[in-house]
């Protein structure tokens, strides 16, 4: 009886501190994307750091919501990978290159409009430096095009549970099977 009560208390105590579990994760290695320490805001207005994704594989891409052409294709490719990778606990992260315009509210509306499941999709807004540093790490080249948009490369990057880059696809010729091959069940 006492043992059962003690066990129940221990479990409830542990579950009441989900952040503690995250803090227990080892610091990122010298090559982990999670070495970047910037703070971001997701589409629900929650503050987070990239290392908060530790423990799951992450597929990350950069674009912006008013992007007329390539970003919908990026999302379509990510969605195809999502479908092919069902049951593999993959997180999808879309980072805006246009943080002044793509507020969290706008990102939320964009996610809703594209039917992105909030259980597995995170859309991120950060300051200019955070965006510039992440783009530099991922090799995403971009510049304002003078017409309110951006010219940018379309790169899908798969990160492992520690934030190490496992695979990059620098074009739109995406075969979801190539990504799934890096995600054994």
């Amino acid at each position: 009886m006492w043992r059962a009560l003690l066990l129940a208390w221990a479990i409830s105590y542990a579950l009441s501190f989900p952040v503690m579990a995250n803090d227990a994760i080892a610091p990122p290695s010298g090559t982990s994307v999670y070495t970047l320490g910037a703070r971001w805001t997701d589409q629900d207005g929650h503050a987070l750091r990239l290392r908060d994704f530790s423990g799951r594989k992450v597929l990350v891409a950069m674009g912006y919501t008013s992007c007329p052409d390539i970003c919908p294709l990026i999302l379509a490719n990510m969605a195809a990978i999502e479908k092919a990778a069902q049951g593999r606990s993959l997180r999808f992260v879309f980072v805006t290159l246009d943080p002044k315009v793509d507020t969290p509210e706008k990102l939320k509306a964009y996610a809703d409009a594209h039917g992105l499941d909030p259980a597995s999709w995170t859309l991120l807004n950060g300051d200019d430096k955070a965006v510039r540093d992440l783009a530099a790490v991922l090799g995403v080249r971009y510049k304002a095009n003078g017409e309110g948009g951006f010219d940018h490369s379309a790169i899908l990057t798969l990160l492992d549970e520690g934030g190490e880059m496992v695979m990059q696809k620098p074009d739109m010729q995406v075969d979801p099977k190539d990504f799934v091959a890096h995600m054994p069940r």
Partner: protein, 255 residues
């Protein structure tokens, strides 16, 4: 000991610098026409380049020197060779330095073998930033003064064999009071990666074709400006963690 000497060298460097009260020169606002026109997607024609407005800014009169970088490392040990994360620097970072000190006799030469991240960290430690590519090119253009001299100096520099010791900073200033933009080292810019971003790219493996291959000459302000092709081609070839024996930087600030 070697690091202490580097710090002393940094202090003495200030005394050696040409007599300028401020390390940064004020660069007035103006209009600047980028070298590249809008880079077209395959099968499209380039549109005419549009002048962009440049706000007044400040720019280091000289490239950052080895002694200045050594002084930075004293305050920021996380950026020493061996300590800086591999995500931010490639294995050749500060490869010619020993025990935290630059090669003997090169305190007053531009620091090289520094990544974009390290350069950015240096500038941020001073409350500054890297110049944008437009700002850097605008300062080099010098309102049209001495353009022929810049081209000649560039070609002379390109003709020098690799491996020669990089000279000390302290060259003659241009009309804005900025020196050594040409002739010693290539320089990082904040948005170096904008070169080669092309239009929205479906195939980034061929991103630079329109800028640097046969079509390149049709897409630029002045097809005869070979040094400008070289500068933009170099930027397009870089990644943020890369370092090179002849790649340094200088900092900028807002007015």
């Amino acid at each position: 000991m070697a690091r202490r000497m580097a710090i002393m060298a940094a202090s003495s460097l200030l005394a050696l610098m040409p007599a300028c009260a401020e390390p940064m020169a004020p660069v007035p606002a103006g209009a600047y026409t980028p070298f590249f026109k809008f880079i077209p997607a395959k099968g499209q024609r380039a549109t005419e380049p549009r002048p962009v407005g440049i706000k007044a800014f400040r720019l280091d009169r000289f490239p950052v020197t080895n002694a200045q970088f050594a002084a930075f490392l004293e305050k920021a040990p996380d950026w020493r060779r061996g300590a800086a994360p591999r995500l931010f620097v490639d294995p050749n970072y500060l490869r010619r330095w020993r025990d935290g000190a630059p090669p003997k006799g090169e305190d007053n030469a531009p620091v090289t073998n520094v990544s974009w991240f390290a350069a950015q960290a240096f500038c941020e430690s001073l409350g500054a930033r890297l110049p944008t590519t437009d700002e850097w090119e605008y300062a080099l253009a010098d309102a049209g003064r001495g353009q022929a001299q810049v081209t000649r100096a560039s070609l002379d520099w390109f003709a020098k064999p690799n491996g020669a010791r990089i000279g000390d900073v302290g060259g003659a200033p241009n009309g804005y009071g900025v020196s050594d933009m040409i002739g010693l080292v290539w320089e990082w810019t904040q948005d170096f990666s904008a070169t080669g971003s092309g239009t929205e790219q479906r195939n980034t493996s061929s991103k630079d074709d329109a800028a640097f291959c046969g079509g390149g000459a049709a897409g630029v302000r002045d097809p005869a400006d070979y040094p400008a092709f070289m500068r933009y081609a170099l930027r397009a070839s870089l990644k943020a963690s890369y370092v090179q024996d002849n790649l340094g930087f200088r900092c900028a600030g807002d007015e």
